[in-house]
Amino acid sequence: MAKLVLEKVEKRYEGFHAIKGVDLAIDDREFVVFVGPSGCGKTTLLRMIAGLEEITGGDFSIDGVRANDIPPDKRGLAMVFQTYALYPHMTVAENMGFALKMAKVPKAEIVAKVSQAAAMLQLDKVLDRRPKALSGGQRQRVAIGRAIVRNPKGFLFDEPLSNLDAALRVQMRTELVKLNKELQTTMIYVTHDQIEAMTMADRIVVLNGGIVEQVGSPLELYNNPANLFVAGFIGSPKMNLLDGEIVARDDHGAQVALADAGVVTIAADGIEAGPGTRVTVGMRPEHTMLAESGPIGGVADFVEHLGNETLVYVKRPNGGMMIVKADELAGIRMGDPVTMAPRTDRASLFGPDGRALIRRTFHLH
């Protein structure tokens, strides 16, 4: 139960500005994911929230109480580390009960809380073992259990799944989301993996170079990336980006002349730019179609048959690459010349400063 508010939060190291003013309000019980490339400041921001890093500017509050100077163990937040950071000389039960022991909770209560959390995480059979005797997945669960036992207001996860194998990672992903619903607590989760972010988050915070690029639900980020960085970072395979210039505009969209290609129509209710503006057209591989006599030409350089879909890597005449998610029966082979067109109602448009020029509303049916 915690509402966390960051206002103009900054982190300056000597000669390095790691976090450049972050404004963010995290609601109670929300599952928020910080995502971004390495060095973007996502872990630093999480550690500032945890209290492990000093906040050098701005305000951070928990449930309306300024928390900048509250020591980490008094903030009521529990953290799960990337390396799990289990105490190697303690058993699983001792690891999980350590925070309570430090808080001078009576022994019987510690035992009760530990066994309750252990049952929840299927650790009841390994309570007497030391971390070394556990599998990677079990260690991960002990680290989570150690956090649960404290009954915290919020959980902080620092890339907790990156040391697990792929199958276990997928399983733990769903378990963590379930845990969020079961425990009804706020969770902040840091990852560089955009698939983890998309699958788990209520809201995603995209960070880059110490600033927040965009905050929104996974689908909002996917459909309406606020700028070129988010457009390129969210979605796999990556969005195709093509340079061009607006040649005509009306109430229902715009005509964009692409460099080294023909004119494409972008349908949108409002576009914040007029003819003559240099723009970047973004079209996701799944919104790029192979169309006979389409405006964008190229040669199929490489074809990947994944079964449910086929990815065609197209080499453009100007040397650029584009990816098309095609029907598995399209019958394209390497070396075939292809022409493509965007789905006009799904393409994005970015201005010369990289900011999105259109914003679409989608309704889930």
């Binding site: 209290g51 980490p72 163990d73 000389h89 925070a99 430090m102 150690r146 404290r150």
Partner: protein, 304 residues
């Protein structure tokens, strides 16, 4: 590291893999084994043989005298005094080096200006030769007339202590501790530096500060290196000789005569090679019994 040890330790060579190994390893091992026999087993056997002889350099020739050397050894009070002295010395120095070694290592692990110089200074005594260290301590530090400590005690109005006549064993322990605390510091400091920072931060989140952090996180982490310090220092201290020889000559009386020093007295003061050999064999047996328990304790600790 220990994970690797336990893993290889747990490896069983199966019949199939043994069969597939075609190399005959005996010729490869032979030179090393032969050298070992020559240098270590042969002298040991010689010593064993001498220990059953009446062999005094002042009254040759040597003749077998059955187990008489051993009977004299075990009935002689000075043997048991020497063993007691050895134990006091080893335990005293071990206690000092672990307590002070840990404290100094914790201190040097902090960040402060001049840390590297301080670390070097703290380690330096280990590189001073034993006789040199012993002479400096005897003449410049502990001497009641010309020593620094005597002067300091007079400054505060106390009577200087004549260490080597009133409390010689403590003086010897102090000198050996001065030499061996740096060794413990070095090992414990490197161990502290390998302590996972994530673990310390997890402890911070769990609310373990100051003493609780030391008690529950840092000291358990140091268990293994402390076991190594105990083992290595025991081996070296059991054969400690130079400082005793330089400062007290085992005296006054037999106050600082350890088992090692007793053997030296028997062999090179009394010229009784036979009884010195008997004491030596006894010392080897004792050391091996000790080593057995030590190595078992340490390896148990390493496997954790």
């Amino acid at each position: 590291m220990s994970e690797a040890i336990t893993k290889t330790g747990g490896l069983r060579v199966t019949g199939r893999s043994r069969g597939s190994r075609q190399v005959n390893t005996l010729p490869l091992l032979l030179p090393a084994v032969a050298l070992l026999l020559l240098w270590s087993v042969l002298p040991l056997l010689r010593t064993l043989f001498y220990s059953f002889e009446h062999y005094n350099l002042m009254s040759p020739p040597a003749v077998l005298n059955g187990g008489l050397n051993y009977r004299y050894l075990f009935t002689d009070v000075s043997t048991w005094v020497a063993i007691e002295n050895s134990v006091i010395l080893v335990v005293g120095v071990l206690f000092a080096s672990i307590v002070f070694g840990t404290l100094i290592a914790l201190l040097l692990n902090n960040d402060f200006p001049g840390r590297n110089v301080a670390r070097l200074m703290a380690i330096a005594p280990f590189f001073v030769m034993s006789p040199v260290a012993a002479l400096i301590w005897k003449n410049l530090l502990l001497d009641p007339v010309s020593g620094l400590f005597g002067w300091l005690m007079m400054l505060v109005g106390l009577r200087p202590i004549a260490w080597f006549s009133t409390d010689p064993m403590t003086a010897v322990i102090i000198i050996y501790s001065w030499r061996w605390i740096p060794f413990a510091t070095l090992i414990l400091l490197t161990a502290l530096q390998s302590l996972d920072t994530d673990q310390l931060e997890a402890a911070r989140m769990d609310g373990a500060h100051g003493f609780a952090r030391l008690r529950y996180i840092v000291l358990p982490h140091l268990g293994r290196p402390i076991a190594i310090v105990i083992m290595l220092e025991s081996i070296f201290l059991l054969s400690a000789f130079a400082v005793i020889y330089t400062t007290t000559n085992g005296g006054p009386g037999d106050a600082t005569t350890t088992l090692t020093y007793l053997i030296f007295i028997k062999a090179l003061n009394d010229f009784s090679i036979g009884s010195a050999s008997a004491a030596g064999v006894f010392a080897i047996v004792l050391a091996n019994i000790l080593a057995f328990f030590l190595i078992r304790a340490v390896s148990k600790n390493l496997q954790r």
